[in-house]
């Protein structure tokens, strides 16, 4: 089925809920999340796949939503920072970030957390090195990295 170039309906599952968004094929997943679905926790920093702030999970895998077309996510499951706390309880990674002081300005934080959430699903007890590899694609300009690594390791331990 050929879609576009005008706006078209795209059916997604976002944080467990089925939604249909209306937008042109050129619209990125990032803009769709932020502007169409008002999920502004996912940040736009570079908009060209060079910083990691827009990291979300698509079918459980971490991707840069700024380089992903929303239309290409038809039928897929998207998870964002807004969706990982369950029943009013913070996700263990969120809790670990607070406990380890793993953020300063906080702008990269949602992306960092999503990368570690993805890691923990593959590897429940990551080492420091595992965490480093998982967030090597998430820049932090404040330099919270040492605490991010601590948070990732301790989130694994507390699960």
């Amino acid at each position: 089925m050929l879609r576009g170039p005008g706006a078209t309906d795209v059916a997604l599952t976002v944080n467990g809920e089925s939604v249909t968004v209306h937008g042109a094929p050129r619209r990125t997943l990032l803009d769709t999340l932020r502007e169409t679905l008002a999920l502004t926790g996912t940040k736009k920093v570079c908009d060209e796949g060079t910083c990691g702030a827009c990291t979300v999970l698509v079918d459980g895998r971490p991707v840069y939503s700024c380089m992903t077309l929303a239309v290409a996510c038809e039928g897929k499951s998207i998870e964002t920072i807004e969706g990982i706390a369950k029943d009013g309880e913070l996700h263990p990674v969120q809790r670990a970030f607070i406990d380890a002081d793993a953020f300063q300005c906080g702008f990269c934080t949602p992306g960092q957390i999503m990368s570690i959430v993805a890691l923990l699903r593959e590897n429940a007890g990551p080492t420091e090195d595992d965490v480093r590899r998982a967030v090597a694609g998430n820049l932090c300009r404040c330099g919270a990295y040492p605490n991010i690594v601590k948070a990732g390791v301790s989130a694994g331990k507390r699960r």
Binding site: C51, I98, Q104, C105, G106, G143, A144, Y145, P146
Partner: protein, 763 residues
């Protein structure tokens, strides 16, 4: 009663004297041995949940109903005259609501110029026109439809070319202007009489802030009031800038900054984007958003100047006898210079000294303050030169520094320091790094081709803070507390440390506290820069909390019918002869009340110099065949008075070290000289450190003694100190490891390999 007093404050390397309004009386320092409930204790950030859930709202996250999107057309040329602009095609594009440029924009004064759109554009990225449209994509497309007739003019972008005789003159007085000079003793003669002289030229490249949240504003004019959401380090500075540009009274401007994604000095006031968004909003009656792209952030939102620094440093009989330091800084189109000679003038007690600092204008983007502006660049040169001299003299570089670092007086002004424990920093740092393992010529690394070395460097900075800064403490009938202040949290933990200071003084639990900041409808707060926030705001908060506490005790005395003198406020309860009554219970007996405490920061002692000191030690390994540097260990020791929150303080130091690591090893803006374009205006080729660049170990230590003469808490700032000495410590460690002296930061492969070749040829 408010009264006017004189204040003298050091800010980012310069002294400012001003009249300020204060009220009430300052408090004495807490008595020695005071048992604090919050101050000095590690606490989680009070806004942590907001930040980890994505609920923290940053300027970029402000989407208002009916909001328009602005994109800015920027000059593709480094220097040109804008002769004509044709916007007809752009205006016809469906969804375009307005276009502004120099022929139709209202006058709006900005940084000494009458308009935000110049006739002569002076760097690639200079604002030429702006489009407001229903969505961003339409605005982008409209930019392509604007036709501009440029008359190209000769340009120069490179620092050393701009200094030379062949360069076009950008200012009537030429490109080079003297910005600062200092002289004491007779450096020339002392150099002649010295036994050892190092004559060396150092360079530092342009560093770009690259805050993750770009500069931006959302402006909403409702016919009566202009509300501007802005990612800023100074809401009141933005308000001032908008007042100047738009000629609105303060009462009609409200600037808000709830959360902001980094600034590092570059977000000190209104930008052209704030004014453009406001002008459009006032013209079109709709909210308007102007948020820069990553590329714009790199070309038009400020940078740390590239510098060229010449040093002559002489030694005799185991001491430094003279320094001559001349610096040139590429400020682009900036109007000031971040002076690299600051540390040279003040760090060491050296009898004969002569320094000069020149501002060099070029057709490049303006400098903006960048975390310890000038001091980072200057300390790289100074502390490299001191090590080079020590090497030549055959003395231990730390021993040499100790001889000049102990003076209790500022060698430039002659004033006594309020406090100084630099030698203590040296002692702690040397022990932590294992300085005794350091050998001239380095030690063996983890493989035959790897050499290991140890180096160190010192930092001096301000951070004493001062007035004006105000805070208000509201206590609700249920005993909860709202601290209101006009400061902002740029990621340093301001909300948290102010909550701690307030809760501690007031005698309530941290959980009872809410901190509301980032709003010009609050009492004035200073710019979050110059490492002044905690030292300026903290003492005011303490006074406000004390004021509220006195009132609460008075109220409790009435309710409990007990003399006030017999009451204490502790853990959110009024304590009287062992009986505890929760504050809420007492206040609820008096219906619907608010107890308001007020506090103002009082001036510093004008006869003293309030400074922070510290030393960083670095251990590195260098792959002598590939030039790869691996920083194994950084020890950071700082003397910044009393520590309010050891956890956030430690984070701040680690962050400073890592931003310095970028400056030292990988961060560098590249300008094409022929076209004036920035080739790496992105995060692909402008290389900020990744998690993998982090040294295996970072040890953070504080002297942690209250500066008893600084302010009523004995606290000083920490934002900038940890970025200052790291690069020099690393360069000194590399030289120690390999004998290769790299005099240009960042120490890239090319530079390290070249220095290794020179060192190899020498040995």
């Amino acid at each position: 009663m408010p009264r006017v007093v004189k204040s003298r404050e050091e800010f980012e390397g310069e002294i400012f004297e001003s009249l300020v309004l204060v009220e009430g009386k300052d408090l004495p320092l807490p008595a020695a041995g005071t048992e604090f409930s919050e101050i000095g204790r590690s606490r989680r950030r009070v806004d942590g949940v907001q930040r980890v859930t994505g609920r923290a709202r940053y300027t970029q996250d402000v989407y208002l109903p009916g909001m328009l999107y602005v994109r800015v057309l920027r000059s593709p040329y480094p220097r040109a005259r804008v002769r004509r602009i044709d916007t007809k095609k752009a205006e016809k594009l469906p969804g375009v609501r307005g276009v502004l440029h120099r022929f139709n924009a209202p006058k709006a004064a900005f940084r000494g110029e009458e308009t935000i759109f110049r006739e002569e554009v002076r760097f690639v990225g200079d604002e030429v026109a702006a489009v407001a449209a229903d969505d961003e994509q339409t605005a982008v497309e409209a930019l392509r439809l604007i036709e501009v007739d440029y008359e190209l003019l000769p340009h120069v972008v490179d620092l050393e070319e701009a200094i030379g005789d062949m360069a076009p003159r950008l200012d009537t007085d030429g490109n080079v202007a003297e910005a600062a000079t200092h002289k004491r003793g007779d450096a020339k003669r002392a150099l002649k009489e010295a036994d050892f002289v190092v004559d060396a030229t150092y360079r530092t490249s342009t560093q770009v802030h690259n805050s993750l949240e770009t500069h931006g504003a959302v402006a909403a004019w409702d016919g009566e009031q202009l509300t501007v959401y802005e990612s800023t380090q100074h809401t009141f500075g933005v308000r001032q800038g908008l007042r100047t540009a738009l000629k609105l009274p303060f009462s009609k401007i409200r600037v808000l900054c709830d959360y902001m994604g980094g600034g590092f000095g570059s977000k000190g006031g209104a930008g052209k984007y704030s004014i453009i968004a406001s002008l459009f909003s006032m013209q079109l009656g709709r909210p308007v958003r102007c948020v820069l792209t990553r590329e714009e952030e790199n070309i038009a939102a400020g940078n740390r100047s590239a510098t060229l620094q010449q040093f002559r440093i002489g030694g005799k009989a185991g001491r430094i006898t003279a320094i001559e330091h001349t610096s040139w800084a590429n400020v682009g189109q900036g109007r000031w210079v971040a002076n690299p000679t600051g540390p040279t003038n003040t760090l060491y007690d050296i009898a004969n000294l002569s320094s000069k600092s020149y501002k060099v204008v070029t057709n490049a983007g303006s400098l903006a303050a960048f975390r310890a502006p000038g001091y980072v660049e200057g300390t790289f040169a100074l502390e490299s030169a001191v090590d080079e001299l020590a090497e030549k003299m055959g003395v231990d570089p730390l021993t040499l520094r100790r001889k000049h670092a102990g003076s209790p007086k500022d060698p430039m002004s002659g004033k006594k320091y309020s406090d100084k424990h630099l030698l203590e920093c040296y002692r702690i740092g040397a022990a932590e790094i294992g300085w005794q393992r350091r050998r001239s010529g380095g030690i063996r690394g983890s493989a035959p081709h790897r050499r290991r070395g140890i180096g160190m460097a010192t930092q001096i900075w301000g951070g004493g803070g001062g007035p004006p800064a105000y805070a208000t403490v509201h206590v609700n009938p249920d005993g909860t507390v709202v601290l209101t202040a006009g400061t902002q949290d740029i990621g340093t933990g301001t909300r948290t440390v102010l909550a701690q200071i307030c809760a501690d003084e007031l005698g309530v639990d941290l959980d009872a506290m809410q901190v509301r900041i980032g709003d010009t409808d609050h009492p004035y707060g200073p710019i979050s820069a110059g490492s002044v926030t905690t030292a300026s705001m903290g003492p005011a908060v303490r006074i406000a909390a004390r004021d509220a506490k006195e009132q609460l005790l008075g109220a409790a005395a009435g309710v409990l019918e007990t003399p006030k003198a017999e009451l204490r406020l502790e853990g959110g309860a009024i304590v009287s002869k062992g009986a505890r009554t929760p504050l809420g219970e007492i206040l609820s007996k008096v219906e619907n009340n608010t107890v308001i405490g007020r506090g103002a920061r009082h001036p510093n002692d004008p006869d003293l110099s309030q400074r922070t000191f510290g030393a960083h030690f670095a251990e590195v390994e260098v792959d002598v065949h590939t030039g790869e540097i691996t920083v194994e260990h950084i020890v950071a020791v700082h003397d910044i008075g009393r520590i309010v929150n050891p956890t956030t303080a430690r984070s701040q130091v680690e962050g400073g070290v890592l931003q310095a690591l970028g400056f030292a090893l990988s961060e560098e803006r590249f300008l094409d000289r022929a076209t004036g374009r920035v080739m790496n205006a992105n995060l692909e080729n402008y290389k900020v450190p990744t998690v993998k660049d982090v040294p295996a170990k970072i040890t953070v230590k504080f002297v942690d003694r209250p500066d008893r003469k600084a302010n009523n808490l004995g606290i000083k700032g920490l934002g900038e100190p940890p970025i200052i000495p790291t690069a020099a410590a690393i360069a000194n460690a590399v030289a120690n490891a390999t004998g290769a002296r790299v005099r240009h930061a960042p120490l890239t492969r090319a530079r390290v390999l070249e220095a290794l070749a020179v060192a190899g040829a020498r040995s």
